[in-house]
Symmetry: C2
Subunit: 236 residues, 2 copies
DNA sequence: CCACCTCATATTGTCAGACAATCTGACAAG
DNA sequence: CTTGTCAGATTGTCTGACAATATGAGGTGG
């Protein structure tokens, strides 16, 4: 992989190309995800199959399959004979997501030393992408969140485990759902970015464990985010 | 929960009662899961919708939804316009599952000291259940696997995080799929049980970190299982 | 003999329509 | 205040159908 095997017929080349022909179900699921993350669909909103089918111009079975996907991702909940609704992030679930985040991201931090160089570089790149957006000042609220969470996922990528990354992405989706419920988080993006930079500096310096190390730093960082999100949800 | 709150109107009593009325889709999914775990459906077997619908006496859309669930669980794979097949465990995926297991179960081990007493008791109970089945000698191969993996899940339960437990159960399901492909693992169940007992003894003694600690012990334990499973798969 | 093309068949992806079972809410009765 | 009843709405499931695509056999030409 990575090296073209000098195929005269070019049978395995162009593997990076793709047409947009995703299945209808996945397109519907993507559209629902987008609507949920952008706050168009508030938490608790019932997702009526007939209304969605007519609105999106697809059939009801297609909508049902897409809803099944959303439920499996934890972005919606299904109650028997009562249909599917947008999930409502409770304080307890935010706490649990953050606890799980710390386990996954902490494992990534521990793997910094033994991680592939390209993965370490990716952490720096996602951090740079976030800080640049913060400094630019013209990025949307959703865009900032996206880059912020991408940095945290890149930490999990240090483990080199696709499954852990997939789990982390699911957790981030749940956080995006929670963040979509609050109009704005009164958190200072500049402080956030500086905190991330401090974390990477600790990593580069090799100070992982013990007091003042990256692992403990990350714990504080995630706990701070946890209480901020929960407080913001309480205000609703 | 657990104690009846002496309610005159009994409004919140009877919460433990439930009828079995699971939906048709979930029953079909459960049946497919069982068939996969018991080896009736070999890895790579195409799951034809029409054949399954006729065989199970349900309609094709119902089968499709159940297959979507299986795919989301990682027990089957869907290729566009080619349908769904039972997933084939590759060596790389077994390695990844075990890496992820170590992160999750390791987090449980680290949480032993601060864990709820009932969760520590549950670890002892699942260990006892496994060792008893091993000593009894009359337990089926699948039953032994089930109790073995239940012990490992109970370690993750020490974290107190439902999401981490859910992730661990998904990983165990993938392992069960892999184990269903090999007729028998030539691993000595007595040695396995003794290894588990050694791990719990380290936990009870509070020896978590450092060389000879429970964390490192668990790493070895999982790595041993990893190489055994991969070797068994190679023989196929 | 092998590469290539064509075509019939099977399977999936998607749709339309229908029906019974169940939930919701309101209202009447004890 | 609880229970029974009923109309409307929604889901869960089934049947049937069609187009798009993959699969495999067979024929054709080099």
């Amino acid at each position: 992989m990575g090296v073209m095997p000098a195929a005269p017929t070019a049978r395995k080349a162009f593997t990076t190309l793709s047409v947009e022909h995703a299945s209808t179900v996945s397109r519907v699921a993507a559209e629902l995800r987008r609507a949920v993350f952008e706050g168009e669909l508030e938490s608790g909103t019932p997702l009526r199959e007939i209304a969605l089918a007519e609105s999106l111009g697809v059939s009801r079975p297609t909508v049902r399959e897409a809803l099944t996907v959303l439920v499996a991702e934890g972005l919606a909940t299904r109650e028997p004979n009562r249909g599917v609704s947008v999930a409502t992030p409770r304080a307890e679930s935010v706490r649990d997501v953050c606890r799980a985040r710390w386990v996954l991201e902490g494992a990534g931090v521990q793997a910094w030393a033994s991680a592939d160089a390209v993965r370490r570089q990716r952490v720096r790149a996602t951090l740079e992408s976030y800080t640049a957006a913060v400094r630019g000042g013209d990025a949307s609220y959703e865009d900032l969140n996206e880059r912020h969470l991408a940095f945290h996922v890149s930490l999990v990528e240090l483990t080199g485990s696709p499954r852990l990354v997939q789990m982390a992405e699911a957790l981030m989706d749940e956080l995006k759902l929670a963040l979509a419920q609050v109009d704005r988080l009164n958190r200072n993006a500049h402080d956030e970015a500086e905190s991330h930079e401090g974390l990477v500096e600790l990593l580069e310096a090799g100070r992982l464990n013990g007091p003042g190390g990256a692992h403990e730093f990350l714990r504080k960082h995630i706990e701070d985010a946890e209480v901020e999100i929960i407080e913001a949800l309480r205000l609703e």
